[in-house]
């Protein structure tokens, strides 16, 4: 029991003390709420970033056929550059060599593109799995 409340004598100081001044909010509740929600906002940003990266990777590696034309044009550019720099015996032989070279390069590039796209797809699935695992762990740990 509060000893001070046991007094029977009236004390104006006690009366005054029993009416403490109320402090104004001044955005305090909002500031604390913001602090409380901070980890959730950070987590949200993390997931959004990971999702965007995943989407980008899926766009790049999802359609390997779309990459082939650009790789082919690069191969042609390199071939023409070589043919311009290196002395060639004749125009006919040059065209034969260059067409063979382009064909060979195209084949190699196709297989390389396929390899890249396959490893990319594996990467996407691995990343997807990691995101799902991270989300599951975060939900379990409630952080």
């Amino acid at each position: 029991m509060n000893n001070s409340r046991q007094h029977s004598n009236y004390d104006p100081l006690d009366e005054l003390l029993a009416q403490p001044a109320e402090i104004s909010n001044r955005g305090f509740i909002e500031r604390v709420s913001q602090q409380l929600f901070k980890p959730f906002i950070k987590r949200e940003h993390l997931f959004m970033g990971m999702g965007a990266a995943w989407l980008l990777l899926a766009m790049v590696f999802g359609s390997p056929r779309a990459l082939l034309p650009s790789l082919e044009s690069s191969a042609r550019m390199i071939t023409s550059w070589f043919s311009a720099v290196l002395p060639m015996p004749s125009e006919q032989s040059t065209s034969v060599i260059s067409s063979n070279l382009v064909g060979q390069l195209n084949e190699e590039i196709s297989s390389l593109g396929l390899l890249i796209s396959q490893s990319g797809m594996i990467g996407i699935y691995a990343m997807g799995f990691l995101v799902a695992a991270a989300m599951f762990m975060m939900v379990c740990m409630e952080i």
Partner: protein, 183 residues
């Protein structure tokens, strides 16, 4: 509006931030007013109150539900204040310029009567143990034993701080009121 017990239960069981925000809304006025009295600075009191509630949210599982939630918050708030004192030696930086405090009072309190204003000004002249003991006991109705638990002081010390603090308040407030004559 939901009752305190169900909000604590929600915040505890599901780490429900919205429920905890409601608890902050319920108790912030008292915690901040208490911290203003002990720290003698509105800005510092706000920072410490924020720290108190964040710390309370993180340590909510240590609140066993035994005793009052408000008392538990007061204890965290006082610990935060003492930690601040220890870390920054803030005690020496407390301003003696009561005219500044007077101006701040009007801005920071809601519907403050002239008597309450005089009381808040007088409180600024007590040391932190005196103002904390008097505020908890006389303003927020805690028993001497509860105050001793919150401030982690011996019961006798709390009683003597209250007596000494009240004597100081009577002396300070005497020219403005009839408090001294009444005592």
């Amino acid at each position: 509006m939901q009752d305190e017990a169900s909000l604590i239960e929600r915040a505890l069981a599901r780490r429900d931030n919205v429920a905890f925000s409601s608890l902050v809304e319920m108790h912030q006025g008292k915690i901040r007013a208490f911290l203003v009295r002990v720290s003698k600075s509105y800005d510092l009191a706000d920072d410490l109150a924020q720290e108190t509630f964040i710390s309370a949210f993180r340590r909510l599982d240590t609140f066993q539900g035994k005793g009052s939630f408000q008392r538990w918050l007061f204890r965290i708030a006082y610990n935060c204040f003492m930690q601040h004192i220890r870390s920054s030696k803030r005690r020496d930086e407390v301003t003696d310029d009561y005219s500044i405090q007077y101006q701040l009072l009007e801005e920071n309190y809601e519907s403050l009567s002239s008597q309450q204003m005089d009381m808040e000004k007088a409180m600024q002249q007590l040391n932190e143990q005196e103002s904390a003991s008097i505020t908890l006991c006389h303003s927020y109705g805690h028993s001497h034993q509860e105050v001793a638990d919150i401030l982690q002081l011996p019961l006798g010390t709390v009683k003597s701080r209250i007596l000494r603090g009240k004597a100081k308040l009577r002396k300070i407030l005497a020219p403005q009121t009839d408090i001294e004559q009444a005592s």
